[in-house]
Amino acid sequence: MSGPVETAVEFAGIPLRNPVLTASGTFGYGSEFGPFLDLRRIGGFVGKSLTLEPRFGNPPPRIAESPAGMLNAISIENIGVDAFLEEKLPALPEGVVVIASCFGTDPDDYARLAARLSDSPRVSGVEINASCPHVKSGGIEFGQDPELLKDLVRRVREHVSGPLIVKLSPNVTRIAPMAEVCQEAGADGITLINAIQSMEVDVETRRPVLANVLGGLSGPAIRPIALRMVWQASRAVDIPICGVGGIASAEDAVKFLLCGATAIQVGTINYVNPMAAGEIADGILAYAQRHGFSRVADLTGALELDRAPVS
């Protein structure tokens, strides 16, 4: 097939040029990638998680490396919602789709923050980070307890009329029930996965490498885990899913789409190759063309199963 391929998809009610987003915390506030990538080549980006007030992160060392992965314990360092709305958003070129990520320690924080962000005409959607693996309170607790999560999403939903996305933690026994409560509580979409709680040790100093001791593992190492969770979640809910975790190539991205993701996010690989998201967007198009799909959206869930799968 050689006809033109339609790359546009809709995720959580947000029309995207193509299914490639970038992941929160790996793309700054967008402008940092100016020298490397025209943001209009990709579907959009998710900004660093914001809090109501500006916030400092953990002391250094904050990062470590592991086989095909990295650990981070940044801990939601951010400029705060005001600076984001007033300084960062206006500086972005027209036509760039912005999804704002928000983080709080209680549902009220989240709700106020999400409402403020959602009110901005430059914000296409809000992603609730209910899954930061290395903050003392908040975040991961919501992401690990279905009742807390349901309550959180419901509260935010009451204050946000625009697209509402929940980012789930992989640090759970079963991902499907977490996805289900998001759907029940009115989320428009789900993003998964966040980094996986991990640890690294320096054998010479006999100390944890990270000052915070624990951090989140990301990068290609976690891709098969992320892919499994996307597949399980996509079978459990009807709302669209955004797949993230270790995506490093267009083939990786296609795997997530086939497993049921409507869009994907590029994370850690942005550090390694700041042009990666654009190259992945091009590569998905090429894949669709090569495999005779007239719409990239048709890749979603196009996995073929021979046998009844074991879930």
Binding site: P59, P61, N270, Y271
Partner: protein, 281 residues
């Protein structure tokens, strides 16, 4: 925080071809890269380099690129052309040992130039550059530039003579050059701080600008000595980095005034007084 002249080109991301990879002894290597469209760099800027990532097969172990000072070659490429950029490094961990293995004709992935350049000394100041180990690599272009307008002393320290990286190049500059080695195999026996002491003792405050790059304990020590002498001290920090362009927040360094600064973007060059040395790992 330090002021510095504006970056003279936006960073690029490119595949650079290895022109030469010369073992310098003591585990050191001088890598010459041919960089298409190199926008030029200010002395003190750095690049992020991934070795072995762009061979026939993408391999994600090790995953992250490594920050490396631009040792020589900050001139921008002619339109459509390439510039040779040199990197000095020591093969210690996974990334640098891979870099040590790359052969002419192979390509390495590179992003840069990144960070800010060194702030200029006062017009009448003497300049003293202190380099420890591979930290010396950050200082060469700055020594070259300063030497055009003011008196320059360069103090280099290493464990042994072979590990005095770039020594021949510094010698060729014709500046006042002194070395210290921990085994006494070249210059003074001991640390480079022993060379700095008399220099600071002689100097009137305001007469000298100090530029230091090397291991954290060495920079910490130099910084304390400079503060005691009332001498301005500029350091170039060597934190671990994941991205190098301000998005991962992994390179944060605690500041005296509280909070953190991103070494890759606000640095790697800092006034030593601004850095909370106690909070550095």
């Amino acid at each position: 925080m330090t002021e510095s002249p504006p970056v003279n080109g936006l960073p690029i991301r490119t595949l650079a071809e290895v022109v030469e990879n010369r073992a310098e002894g003591g585990g050191g290597f001088c890598l010459t890269l041919s960089v298409p469209g190199w926008p030029g760099a200010l002395p003190g800027q750095f690049v992020m380099i991934s070795a072995g990532a762009c061979a026939a097969v993408e391999r994600w172990d090790p995953l992250l690129p490594r920050p490396m000072a631009v040792y020589r070659g900050h001139r921008p490429a002619e339109a459509g052309g390439t510039t040779e950029v040199q990197i000095l490094f020591k093969a210690t961990g996974a990334g640098t040992r891979l870099l040590a293995e790359t052969a002419p004709g192979q390509r390495v992935r590179m992003v840069g130039p990144l960070g800010v350049g060194f702030p200029p000394p006062g017009p009448d100041q003497r300049v003293c550059l202190v380099g420890g180990g591979t930290g010396t690599a950050s200082l060469y272009e700055w020594a070259l530039q300063c030497a055009r307008t003011q008196p320059v002393s360069v103090l280099l320290g290493a464990r042994r003579a072979q590990e005095l990286v770039g020594l021949a190049d510094f010698e060729a500059l014709g500046v006042d050059l002194r070395c210290a080695t921990e085994d006494g195999s070249r210059g003074t026996l001991g640390r480079v701080t022993a060379l700095l002491e008399p220099l600071l003792a002689e100097a009137e405050p305001g007469e000298l600008s100090l530029y230091v790059c090397g291991p954290t304990p060495m920079m910490r020590a130099c910084s304390q000595m400079a503060v005691r002498s009332g001498v301005r001290c500029i350091v170039s920090l060597e934190n671990n980095m994941a991205c190098g362009f301000g998005v991962c927040l992994g390179c944060a360094v605690p500041m005296t005034e509280g909070g953190f600064s991103l070494v890759c973007r606000a640095g790697p060059i800092y006034d030593a007084r601004d850095v909370d040395w106690a909070g550095l790992p």
